[in-house]
């Protein structure tokens, strides 16, 4: 349906996308006791770290191979080795996820080969799992980096397998970058309600959910345990959330013959119905648990109440493809019209499925311009959209990454029956928060003549 348009210009104004290495780092943070490591110059790491900290309001471990001009030209294998060594000394991580950056990719290095050599030579590194993903900044955005990191994790850690334990009621939940910790929790809750045991990969719901633990650690504060990752091969099924997870799911299928299904969206009635239908099939439960049925009926009620506000609503949305698709789809199914859709990367087939005439591969400059031209009544994008919000006087619902001017970003939940319900309320309430008092002039009627107005007496003293 939607056509992807590339604006012809050299200048990007107010970037919408976050970088691919940052996406990879975020995925790595979903592994227990991990430290993401950028292969590049230290500045990229500092920027990415600040970005993550501002969103999650958490200390985020993130390190760099600290490349300088000389090491960039000579090649960075030594830097990688030294970085791993220092990291192990400092925080003893169980997992180090390396992401390349524009700098090292421009130079072009055979990092996988060098890494292999390092790992085989340095037997003392054996108790740290090391994974590498190639994520140049100049190709794609956060979502692509995340997907590549997950693929790299699977590629490195999931063994080929043909055995299946029929007793094991385990399913793999592959989470895309657009899911918040609360959303992963919600999906896990749904899966469990059917008596299935989800194995979440990567799981930021236990590492970046915002909690206080009893000690300080220099690694991620939770996440999928390293030892559990190979078990992905033993799951009965893979539930891949987001089109970006298709390749990863496919990879598991190739390795271990685990069938999969990709859910391009789990927001809105129909998409969640499809998810539930799959869970019913997997668990053999014709009659889902009462909590699930109740939540569905409550979503229907919410839709009844919300449709007065969402019908005909002109929406401008800017987000990574998967988030763009799932939210815009939920809104159009409620009668809204997507007048502006801007996304960050062309690498996604869901873009075509977005219910809009065109999807702009662009930035917040495009977003603002298009929203203005098309008379958008509500904006959905991340916190940087606040400038457009102020200039256009159109309310902003903060979605995606980063959300730095509100707290509790990790708790936003817009998936499942419950999350969809909350999302509809959120949109409807934002619409209602715009205080508009109708005036006769708007309809072409003359205002009440002044002579009818009561003039308060001036108090005489």
């Amino acid at each position: 349906m939607a056509k992807l348009v590339h604006p012809k210009r050299a200048l990007s104004t107010n970037p919408l996308k976050s970088s691919a290495p940052l996406g990879a780092a975020l995925a790595y943070l979903g592994i227990e006791r991990s430290v993401p490591l950028f292969h590049g110059s230290q500045g990229c790491t500092a920027f990415a770290m600040v970005h993550l900290v501002r969103h999650f309001k958490e200390a985020v471990p993130l390190q760099t191979t600290a490349m300088n001009e000389v090491s960039t030209i000579l090649g960075g294998a030594d830097q990688i080795e030294e970085a791993i060594e220092n990291l192990r000394k400092k925080s003893n991580p169980a997992f180090i996820g390396i992401a390349s950056t524009a700098l090292t990719e421009t130079r072009g290095e055979d990092v996988p080969g060098e890494l292999k050599e390092i790992v085989s030579r340095r037997t003392d590194f054996a108790d740290t799992q090391i994974v590498y993903a190639s994520t140049p900044d100049f190709d794609g955005g956060l979502q692509d980096g995340w997907a590549k990191a997950v693929e790299a994790i699977i590629d490195a850690m999931v063994p080929p397998s043909t055995e299946r334990d029929p007793e094991l009621r385990q399913v793999t939940l592959l989470c895309g970058s657009h899911l918040t910790p609360a959303e992963i929790e919600e999906l896990v809750r749904m899966v469990r309600a059917f008596g299935l045991e989800p194995l979440v990969l990567p799981d930021i719901s236990t590492s970046l959910d915002g909690h206080v633990s009893d000690d300080w650690s220099g690694t991620s504060q939770g996440g999928t345990p390293v030892a559990r990752i190979p078990d992905v091969a033993r799951s009965a099924f893979t539930l891949a959330i987001g089109e970006q997870m298709r390749k990863a799911a496919k990879l598991i299928e190739d390795r271990a013959m685990v069938p999969y299904r990709v859910f391009q969206s789990v927001t809105g009635l129909k998409p969640v119905d499809a998810f539930v239908r799959t869970l019913m099939g997997l668990s053999g439960m014709q009659d889902p648990p009462p909590s699930i049925k109740r939540d569905r009926s409550r979503l229907i009620d919410a839709a009844l109440d919300a449709h007065f506000h969402t019908g005909g609503l002109k929406v401008a949305i800017g987000a990574d493809p998967d988030l763009l698709f799932s939210l815009s789809n939920a809104l159009t199914s409620m009668g809204a019209e997507i007048v502006t859709a801007v996304t960050t990367t062309q690498h996604s087939p869901v873009i075509e499925r977005v219910a809009a005439d065109e999807v702009i591969l662009g930035d917040l400059g495009d977003f603002e311009r298009s929203a203005k031209e098309n008379g958008a009544q509500i904006l959905l994008t991340h916190s940087h959209g606040r400038h457009a919000e102020h200039r256009l006087h159109v309310p902003l619902v903060r979605v995606g990454f980063p959300v730095f001017d509100r707290i509790g970003a990790q708790d936003a939940c817009r998936v499942g029956y419950r999350g969809s319900r909350a999302f509809l309320y959120e949109i409807a309430n934002t619409v209602q928060s715009i205080h508009h008092r109708a005036r006769p002039e708007e309809f072409g009627a003359a205002p009440i003549a002044e002579e009818f107005e009561h003039v308060p007496h001036v108090a005489s003293c």
């Binding site: 230290q42 900290v53 958490e58 490349m67 524009a102």
Partner: protein, 519 residues
């Protein structure tokens, strides 16, 4: 890296104005003040970051970053430099180089077009063009592009040549100063000059800190001609060469700029700070004295003393109100440089105990001051690993941590009050009124009743004294209705495969560590 950039870097490292540098041998000096970074243990921003921090507060300029997405995409609009005018500086402009641009060498062309587009769309007084790692590595010549663009479009395009990989933030600050010297300062003449014109270098008006001291200048009739770069307009920076005195605030980073203004235009400079009461007074005194030396009326000195006396009396009166609320609190200061000591005396005067102060980035002079104020050097430390700091705070070795954002969560996760005193903070603590704001922030932090609640044990940490009222769980899950049992670690039991034996009664539901609810 081009030879021009190399010699620039050599030049800024060879800073005679810097005391630390003067003590070094020729070879050490060549190496620069940047320590080589340790892979896996490095922290902090790159040179580009430093340059951007120093220049972005010029509010009406278009700041265009020539880079793939990383440099600007992850970092634009992330600082609190306040503007009283244009908002253009907050707009993130970048060439967002794609793979194709890099491989095919379209970088320079794209940059030229981007400059054209930004001028057409916003018509700024100038465009600042920042180089970054990738364009530098592939040899894009931003100086040449800027020169051509300036000629073609008539809007000054200023190259800022500080690609990230040449070094630290600090080096970037210096290179930014050089960019201003080379391309901006001296390019516009003010309509009129007064003997009360000063430059303020190194204050970025974060959260409005410059405005906290501006009323003092206003009272004294001092005009900030060249602001580098807090709430600055391009024209202000361009006219900085006509000031009479330069004040270098809080930092050695831009000392090259201050010194060269002196060399080239004969503007003497002094280093001062508006952080702490005595510092503020001292800075005003020095500034006025130097202005008088430069030709201002001598009565400025008396007026200055009068303002200082009034302000100090007033601020102490305001601070006294907080004394009972903050007296006796133990403060751990984790900042560095001259901040290691500049607020210590004020805190002590209010009855607070400073149990430690870090002297990172502090000069010997700074360290001497710490010893003088605190009596000995027992309370001085360099770095503290987050782990150790966490333990110390957790064991209640302090009542409040005052530090920068990096250690914020170390304190908070140890359930310890934290006050932000570094650059990224949201509140301004400069000048006399800033001190009141800071003490108010300490009061607000340490006296919040939340802390004692948070530190109370959880319900299950105290043994249960009541006996059980209800019978143990049997049968099925109350939420899902699915029968439980058959001895599996899975919480709910599937209808298939059919269990051969009857389900055993369940005494407790097994839940995983990541459980949130249900059975």
């Amino acid at each position: 890296m081009s030879d021009a950039l190399k010699s620039k870097i050599q030049d800024v490292f060879n800073e005679p104005g810097c005391g630390t540098n003067a003590e070094k041998s020729e070879r050490q000096r060549k190496k620069g003040c940047a320590k080589p970074l340790t892979p896996g243990a490095a922290a902090g921003g790159c040179a580009f970051d430093g340059a951007k921090i120093a220049l972005q507060p010029i509010v009406d300029v278009a700041h265009l970053v020539h880079a793939p997405l990383a440099c600007e995409g992850n970092g634009w609009d992330n600082r609190g430099a306040a503007s009283s005018g244009s908002e253009l500086y907050r707009t993130g402009f970048t060439t967002d180089l794609s793979e194709l641009d890099i491989v095919m060498g379209y970088g320079e062309k794209k940059l030229f077009r981007a400059i054209k587009e930004v001028i057409e769309a916003h018509n700024p007084p100038a465009v600042f063009v920042y180089s970054t790692c990738v364009p530098s590595l592939i040899g894009d010549d931003i100086n040449a592009v800027c020169k051509a663009a300036t000629q073609k479009f008539g809007t000054p395009c200023v190259p800022v040549n500080a690609p990230g990989y040449v070094g630290s933030k600090n080096l970037g600050n210096k290179l930014a100063g050089e960019a201003l010297l080379d391309g901006v300062i001296g390019s516009i003449e003010p309509e009129e000059c007064t003997p009360y014109d000063v430059n303020i270098i190194g204050d970025y008006n974060l959260s409005g800190e410059l405005w906290q001291v501006k009323p003092l200048f206003d009272k004294l009739g001092i005009r900030v001609l060249g602001s580098i770069t807090g709430d600055a307009r391009y024209r202000q920076v361009a006219m900085a060469h006509r000031a009479k005195v330069t004040m270098l605030v809080c930092s050695k980073a831009l000392i090259n700029l201050a010194r060269k203004l002196d060399e080239r235009y004969g503007i003497p400079y002094f280093e001062g700070s508006f952080y702490g009461i005595s510092d503020t007074s001292q800075a005003l005194r020095t500034m006025c004295a130097m202005l008088v030396e430069q030709g201002a009326e001598a009565d400025l000195l008396d007026r200055c003393e009068q303002v200082i006396a009034e302000e100090e009396t007033r601020v102490w009166k305001q601070l006294d109100a907080y004394r009972p609320r903050v007296a006796g609190k133990r403060v751990l200061l984790y900042t560095g440089g001259h901040k290691s000591w500049s607020v210590v005396s004020a805190l002590q005067e209010l009855g607070m105990e400073v149990i430690g102060t870090s002297v990172r980035k502090a000069t010997d002079d700074d360290k001497g001051r710490v010893v003088k104020i605190m009596g000995d050097d027992k309370h001085m430390f360099e770095n503290m690993a987050p782990k150790d700091m966490y333990r110390m705070l957790k064991d209640a070795g302090a009542d409040v941590l005052m530090s920068g954002g990096r250690s914020q969560f170390v304190a908070l996760k140890a359930k310890m009050p934290w006050v932000d005193v570094n650059q990224e903070k949201h509140e301004a603590y400069a000048g006399y009124m800033g001190m009141v704001d800071m003490v108010r922030a300490i009061d607000r932090a340490v006296n919040n009743p939340m802390w004692s609640e948070l530190r109370e044990p959880a319900p299950w940490e105290t043994p249960l004294t009541e006996t059980r009222v209800l019978p143990a769980i049997t049968g099925s899950c109350p939420v899902t209705g699915v029968p439980a049992g058959v001895g599996r670690p899975v919480s709910l039991v599937p209808p298939m495969p059919p269990a051969s034996s009857a389900p055993a009664p369940v005494t407790a539901f097994v839940s995983s560590a990541t459980d949130f609810e249900d059975c």
